[in-house]
């Protein structure tokens, strides 16, 4: 039937689906990973890459579909089983033991032991040196993991993976915390492993890494498999097209541009040592400015710095033309800056308290008369706010944790808007809420801007950013890499800017 003998792939993924509640993370994904190949897995934030890795390594079970290792169908229940089967994953935040030394971290699950049942340390250190040596690493197996760099941590994880019979090594955004030199070292090791016949699944946001490293690539979008191709057949433009190629959702309805008012907030050359630097932008009244970028690009950190959570180490902030030094959220709230955190449930709301107490918390000082709170006054404010933002609840005494995600977000809005801010920083305001509430949140944001607020909208949802924003700032690796006016903004353009940062902005940086 086939004229060409294809060797069995190292890993076959067949019809794998996974849902979390109502949201579908993966639907019927099917592709093969060849033996002895570097296979890149790319896609936007939320495309389903991480879910797929979790299924392959047995962290979560698939709802449907199968994974074949060689010709064998496998269902790993834990990462340990996957490892025993020959699949190991190295995460961007390595899971190691800081207090223990390198050799112990490599052998912990499986110590060489002496006849007395004690750990045979001499053998352990010799074997650890050998494993590290094979990777071309001169790492002292006696040194504590606490003293290693992020790159070295990943090397230790890889050495550990190799101590079992490895078939497939999964690298989940391995270079996101590495310097160019460290990345190059990592990739040298990856190539060595490939040349020894191991398969590598490389998950990355950096398209130049796909170009330089991958033999094959697979694109996921919205949990669906878009394409699996040999990497050399796909150029960067085509790849970006495949990653974002969905039709722009009309749900939000491109909002009318209103004429922007006076400048409310301006930041100049803002930076926090080791996190981001050289950020300059301004927000004007009645304007929504989108902030796009990859997860971990530094957007949240920028907003939190403007809000006073992490004071800046350099740069200046102006509010209505007056210079301010953000020192604490309390100070910035007083000056009229409000921030809706991304981790709404953890940082933005008090889950085990009522709607009324959440809404009035930032303004209890104002509501109190001679230091005593007036319950009916509080309820009046909260009821009004709940009506304005269409919070679906039985009463304002209902606990926030019993509300749906969308309604919680509306309570969070109500809470900060009770402080009557002039600038509103929104961090992923529609993350994890259902479609219906999403449209309502969009309408609220638009209304607020029309009422004269300056809004910064941080979002990883590209269609949302495109539809809502008057201007789009693109952040990559802690730098502002592009500012795109709404007329010129396309998904491709934003994605291109967000993924190109690595090579260009790093190359000129001095090595640490």
């Amino acid at each position: 039937m086939v004229d060409r003998v294809e060797p069995t792939p190292a890993l076959r993924i067949v019809g794998v689906s996974k849902s979390y509640g109502a949201s579908r993370a993966l639907s019927e994904v099917t592709f093969d990973i060849r033996r002895g190949a570097v296979h890149a897995l790319v896609g936007e934030n939320g495309a389903g890459k991480s879910t797929l890795v979790k299924i392959i390594t047995g962290i979560v079970p698939a709802d449907a579909g199968q994974v074949f290792l060689g010709s064998q169908a496998v269902h790993f229940a834990t990462p340990m089983e996957a490892r025993a089967g020959g699949i190991a994953a190295v995460y961007q935040d390595p899971k190691l033991f800081a207090h223990l030394d390198v050799a112990e971290n490599i052998f912990l699950g499986n110590y060489p032991t002496s006849r007395l049942g004690t750990v045979d340390r001499r053998r352990m250190y010799t074997q650890a040196s050998a494993a590290l040596g094979q990777l071309g690493l001169e790492l002292d197996p006696h040194s504590l993991v606490a003293g290693l760099s992020v790159a070295e941590l990943q090397f230790v994880e890889i050495a550990r993976a190799l101590s079992a019979e490895l078939q497939l090594l999964i690298l989940d955004e391995p270079t996101s915390a590495l310097t160019p030199a460290e990345s190059e070292r990592l990739f040298r090791i990856v190539r060595t492993l490939r040349d020894r016949g191991k398969s590598i699944l490389l998950i990355t946001h950096r398209l130049e890494e796909v170009e330089s490293m991958a033999d094959d690539l697979t694109v996921l979008r919205d949990g669906r498999h878009v394409a699996t191709r040999p990497a050399r057949e796909v150029d960067r433009a085509a790849l970006v097209q495949m990653m974002v190629g969905r039709p722009v959702e009309t749900l939000f309805g491109r909002s009318q541009s209103t004429t922007a008012g006076n400048e409310v907030l301006r930041v100049e050359d803002l930076g926090v040592e080791g996190t981001f630097a050289g950020i300059t932008f301004s927000l004007r009244a009645r304007e929504i400015v989108g902030m796009a970028g990859l997860v971990g690009a530094g957007r949240t950190e920028i907003a939190q710095t403007v809000f006073g959570i992490t004071p800046p180490t350099r740069g200046r902030v102006f509010l209505n033309g007056q210079p301010v030094v953000p020192r604490s959220p309390r100070q910035m709230l007083k000056l009229g800056v409000a921030y809706l955190p991304e981790d709404r449930d953890g940082q933005g709301l008090i889950m085990a308290d009522s709607i009324v107490n959440n809404v009035t918390l930032p303004i209890v000082g104002r509501l109190a008369r001679m230091g005593v709170l007036n319950g009916s006054g509080e309820r009046r404010v909260a009821t009004q706010a709940a009506a304005t933002y269409d919070v679906k609840a039985i009463s304002v005494e209902q606990l926030v944790m019993s509300l749906s995600g969308g309604n919680r977000q509306k309570v969070a809005f109500a809470k900060w808007l009770a402080t009557t801010p002039v600038a509103l920083l929104l961090d992923e305001p529609t993350h994890g809420i259902d479609i219906g509430s999403k449209a309502q949140v969009h309408r609220i944001i638009r209304q607020l801007a029309d009422q004269g607020l300056a809004v910064l909208l941080i979002s990883s949802d590209l269609p949302e950013v495109l539809a809502m924003s008057d201007r789009i700032l693109v952040i990559a690796e802690g730098r502002l890499v592009a500012e795109i006016p709404r007329e010129e903004a396309t998904q491709e353009k934003v994605m291109m800017a967000a993924t190109q940062g690595a090579g260009t902005s790093r190359a000129c940086r001095p090595k640490p």
């Binding site: 990462p79 935040d93 033991f97 110590y111 002292d140 003293g147 992020v150 040592e273 080791g274 996190t275």
Partner: protein
Amino acid sequence: MPTKAITPAVLAVPRRNLGELALRVRVSGVLAFLLIIGAIFSLRSSQFLTPQNLGVIASNAAILAVVAAAQAVVLITRNVDVSVGSMMGFSAYLTCDFAARHQNAGAELILMALAIGLFLGTVNGWLVAYGRVSSLIATLATMSLYRGFTYLYAHGQEVTSNRLPRWMLRSVDLRIAGVPMLVVICVLVVLVAAVFLRHYPLGRRIYAVGSNPVASLFYGLRPHRIILLAYALSGLLCGFAGLLYAARIGTVTVVLASGWEMSSLAAAVIGGVSVAGGSGTVIGAALGALVLACVDNGLVLLGLPEFWRMFIQGSSIVAAAAVDVFIGFGLRKSLQGRRLGRSAG
């Protein structure tokens, strides 16, 4: 696994951070502190360095060293055991009461104390590991419960020394080459615990679970079981320590060893065991007990008020905790930090 080595890519320059350094020098820090206070006391009091006084200090430190070791095992798993004193009291009272009724009881008394301690520790471990009760709350509860049961059982009585078997009282007073038997026994117990933690896979896993519980799951360890075992071991050591303490003071009352949770914690923390888990050694904890015993003794010799004992105990805990924070900061930096590009670097 292929054996062909590739040429070293780039020489990894060992870049130690201060956190690692501090972790490594911790035990030597305790030793240095011990020498310093020893030097101060011996300069101020001629009696401090006499063999007789050193014997007294060692005897006073010995049992606390065992309990501090028990506390250390639990602290290393990122938990705490405040019921150590109650476990000592419970096992000591029951065992000694049994001994008072059966005058010819021998080594089975030791087994009984160990068994009671093991049982009480297992209950603690079960509550913390499987009952998902926070360790402070769970052991605070059992601290009261175990002590309460002792009261109930004792019915207002106490076991006086003349009712205890002769051999029991005499054995702790024996001297081997001038060293009190009690000290020899306790040193041996601490050494066994140290070897277990340092050289046995299970001991290493206790460290691993405390160092990074999430990673321990990824490594296929069973953290719940390991925490249960750590508590059981703590109970076992406390049961034994309770019997030793009873033999040493002779009269066993229901309040025996109350307050030891505090001194065992102090000893362990001073000895470099981190309350944040994952680091420290039982040898360090035992040295911490020695520090406390020296301070006690020296202050008595110098005729200083009780306040200074409290002051030194309190401030050394604060100092040790500050070192902990410092180390923790270094660790967080190296394991979680720098996830973003080091743009400003």
